[in-house]
Point group: none
Chain length 382, copies 2
């Protein structure tokens, strides 16, 4: 449950997890061990990238994944070694070149598709650098620069605020001039092509980054892992870690449950992602977060119908309703297995997790615990 | 209490520590601070070596003690710098050289003594390498190779399964050829000598290792430490850390209590080892583990009669009854001292320790806490 953790407030003295009716989580909790996970470190608020990396046992400080790479792989783009990816937004420029809307009035996804196709035809190569673009949701797209000698040490082409011009890409390292030149060429070419458009007449690029060279979950833990997620970014991140991405058509929780059910014998690890909790937290919507938790709880019997050996319920970070944003608060976590040792709590909540047998510990240590609970780890030393 | 930690199960919803009647531990607990110790790290199940190293404040990952060394020092063999020790098993070979019983029908200890004496006479030196062997319990013995230029980087001479031949020792490093040759010579000599034996007609050697160069407890903590343990391996480990080994004749808890009482003014630190809890856990015997805990509890007034300044009660790892093996679960721990700050719990159990003031922390940090409770540590910084 993305952004699961929360905090009480004067308005809501019980957190969403405490307020929610969660009979199935409660049943799990009775035989589970509880604790709280620190995604990165005390006081550090993680983005989705570090949070998920830590959940899957990677050091979220040592391994950093750029926003461009996340976006590109989330849109099913294949990244080759040396490619530089960036995240793109269509935006609106006034005649003097000032950004008046960083999201181009949030144009429809279909419109973005048409524009991207047009741009792709005219921008196959820029100064010898191959360009691949892929439309995303609404006004978003991803772009990949491919060629020899490209670097991701390039500044963002995004003023971050309306009322300013698009800053050109600047190289931050000796070898980055070629990439900056291609990005600036792209920007000018897009503006020339979209001159007639009223809303989407330019593009902002940010998060220039290269695919990190990571060992997969199979390399590290000998797990055959599958991702059951609807949102592109989480699918992309899972792919970077070597998970296979399951088709969740027709989407939503139901699509995810069907995908899990169809594939349950083909993998030894499932990452099941539920986005609604984070959305509600970021919207500051207490009732929606309670509902999101209750909806997931209602689906739990289906998700667990195949009786996995080990179940972990947690989140990649907290997104407290009062903060309307990601936060540093440790995330409640539950591990259920035959060998886990139940803490005997009848509820799964921030407070019950505070006194669980798992303690408050680094999120990246969750995976070793899950493997231990699956009896997949050998004894250390004689 | 070796292997103290445990987990609840459906059959036994209370752990052995929770089920046991422990009036004396409870009394300690009322004024003690509680917590749980992670021997090596989350999810990592330790052998007895790493568990004890951590208990005594050594980094169990950085300091690794080979099985051969543990076995040899446990049998009171003196290890010199450069010696290579290995653990030996008598085994049964069929006429074609296939291992049919890796434990030679678990021959009697007395028989092993006779065979070892015979072998020792015929194997004083092999290719210039001095050989010392020492019989252990049942079919087990320890062997020490002594000479210049020996290395422990030699593969085990143990097929691990019946139905295979004994693999020869192979050098794993440039300087290990001499050791491998001596080990292989030993193996052939033993087979020639024991040709007439029906059960013990060959030997398996494994865990080739050298004595690690460790600072003693006196070097590190200025403690004059004594070991009050009946079992060879724990005595051996304590000796490696510079403890003096007390004579516990006639053995058992009573022998240990007498040894402690006789020596209580001569040391500043006692390691009192109680094995029965681990044995019961490994046997999956719930009632025996409860009894083992109650027996130790009953002896507590005698053990603590001399009123030590600081008392710690814990284990080197968990050995949960449902798992019948060592496990990764954090070990309940109690520290009693005048300055500890009592948590006010009236019970010492996994669950009360979950919410103790010590938290869940690395086992290697227990020693600094004990020293602090003895007011033996100076303030850090101005």
């Amino acid at each position: 449950m993305d952004g699961l953790g929360d905090i009480p407030s004067r308005e809501h003295p019980a957190t969403p997890l405490e307020a929610a009716r969660t009979p199935h989580l409660d049943e799990l909790a009775r035989e589970a061990s509880l604790g709280r996970l620190l995604p990165v470190g005390p006081g550090i608020t993680p983005g989705s990238g570090p949070g998920h990396l830590a959940l899957f046992g990677y050091d979220p400080i040592g391994v950093q994944i750029g926003r461009g790479v996340l976006e590109a792989v989330g849109l099913d783009m294949k990244l080759e070694a040396g490619d530089v990816a960036a995240r793109g937004n269509f935006c609106t420029l006034d005649p003097s070149g000032i950004v008046t809307d960083r999201r181009a009035g949030r144009i429809e996804t279909e419109k973005t598709r048409v524009l991207c196709a047009r741009i792709q035809t005219e921008c196959e190569r820029l100064d010898g650098v191959k360009v691949v673009i892929q439309p995303g949701m609404s006004h978003r797209f991803a772009i990949v620069f491919r060629g020899k000698g490209l670097s991701d040490e390039v500044t963002d082409m995004d003023p971050q605020k309306e009322g300013r011009a698009i800053p050109p890409a600047r190289p931050l390292a000796a070898g980055a001039a070629r990439t900056a030149r291609a990005a600036n060429l792209f920007s000018r070419r897009v503006q020339a092509l979209l001159k007639g458009e009223s809303r989407a007449n330019a593009a902002l690029l940010r998060g220039f980054s290269k695919r990190p060279d990571l060992p997969s979950l199979t390399d590290r833990f000998r797990l055959k892992a599958a991702c059951v997620a609807s949102y592109p970014m989480y699918r992309g991140l899972a792919r970077l870690l070597g998970m296979e991405i399951l088709d969740v058509t027709p989407g939503g929780l139901d699509g995810q449950c069907v995908a899990l059910d169809r594939n349950r014998d083909r993998y030894t690890f499932f990452y099941f992602h539920w986005k609604a909790t984070d959305q509600a937290g970021e919207d500051g919507n207490f009732e929606a977060k309670v509902r999101a938790i209750e909806t997931l709880d209602g689906a739990l019997p289906r998700i667990l119908e195949w009786k996995p050996d080990v179940v972990a319920v947690t989140g990649d970070h907290s997104s407290p309703v009062p903060l309307k944003a990601h936060s540093w608060h440790p995330v409640p976590a539950l591990i259920w297995s035959r060998w886990g040792g139940g803490d005997g709590q009848g509820r799964f909540s921030e407070r019950t997790c505070n006194s669980g047998s798992l303690g408050i510990f680094a999120m990246k240590d969750l995976m070793p615990l899950l493997l231990a609970n699956a009896l997949k780890l050998k004894k250390f030393g004689a």
